[in-house]
């Protein structure tokens, strides 16, 4: 089994390297740092139908990826028909007074708990990550949406930019590759 070393790489480099390394292969061993790189690579592999085993050794996380179908490795996970992806790029809803925009966004996210349809995935980018991190007023609602099966992702680069990497309270960190793949694969994308 081939092994690649993706330690000391900034996101999304580990996922991009793993994606390239998996082309034409059905198994791979990856050395990774803990945190977002490990989470993103594992999620990427699982989303592409691979089996993932994680093991910690003295110097790195060792992620063993097996059981894949090389033909599908480069394709993002298919969405079920009618699944919706919500892309939230601000902590405010709409243009206008900040106070009103903040209120509308909070109200919208709370109201999602009682709509007939819920999104399959929610991606928070730019100031949107202020909603998934410490101090947000919608953490309880997002946790409940997570409990209902909604996958919640926050942009790792954005968390880093705002100094919020260790303040994420709900969902997982993701990278641009996963975000772009998901946006292009989704049947319905709603941007706020």
């Amino acid at each position: 089994m081939n092994t690649i070393d993706c330690r000391n790489m900034a996101c999304p480099a580990p996922v991009i390297n793993v994606k390239k390394a998996l082309e034409g292969r059905t198994e791979l061993r990856v050395l990774l740092d803990d945190g977002a790189p490990r989470e993103n690579v594992s999620r990427f592999a699982r989303n592409h139908g691979f089996k993932v085993d994680e093991e910690r050794n003295a110097d790195a996380w060792v992620i063993t990826i097996t059981g894949g179908n090389a033909a599908t490795a480069a394709k993002p996970q298919a969405f079920a028909q009618d699944e919706r992806l919500l892309l939230i790029t601000s902590n405010l809803l709409g243009e206008g007074p900040e106070e009103l925009g903040s209120l509308l966004m909070k109200n919208f996210l709370h109201t999602l708990l009682e709509t007939a349809e819920i999104p399959a995935r929610m991606f928070f980018m730019n100031r949107g990550v202020l909603l998934t991190t410490d101090g947000s007023d919608v953490l309880e609602a997002l946790e409940k949406l997570g409990g209902m099966g909604v996958e919640i992702f926050s942009c790792g680069l954005c968390l880093d930019f705002f100094g919020l990497k260790d303040k994420l309270k709900v969902g997982n960190t993701t990278n641009m590759l996963t975000t772009a793949d998901s946006l292009l694969a989704a049947n319905h994308v709603i941007k706020l």
Partner: protein
């Protein structure tokens, strides 16, 4: 469905008659460190702005005192009990009592 998720047995909801008042109340109470959450008002409650402040019984005294001091008392306060909203305080009754 959602209100059952955001509102649990015993939660209190303060309902206001304007968006500006409820937003101001949220801001003042947060500044004072009082534990409230601004949420969409349940469909069962008649509100003009569709918003309510949610809090717990143990914090009711501090919250209502602060709202009175700030002249931001709500229209009414309801308690969620066994699937129903029971009005436990109303501004109209309070005013009538004062007079």
């Amino acid at each position: 469905m959602g209100n059952r998720l955001m509102i649990q047995e015993g939660h209190l909801l303060a309902v206001f008659n304007s968006a500006h008042r409820v937003m101001k109340a949220e801001s003042r109470l947060k500044t004072l460190g009082l534990p409230i959450l601004l949420i969409p008002a349940p469909r069962q409650l008649q509100t003009d702005c569709g918003l309510a402040l949610r809090f717990r019984e143990e914090d009711r005294g501090g919250i209502m005192d602060a709202l009175e001091r700030e002249k931001l008392l709500p229209e009414f306060v309801s308690r969620y009990e066994a699937g129903n909203f029971v009005t436990i305080w109303s501004f109209a009754d309070c005013e009538a009592h004062v007079r």
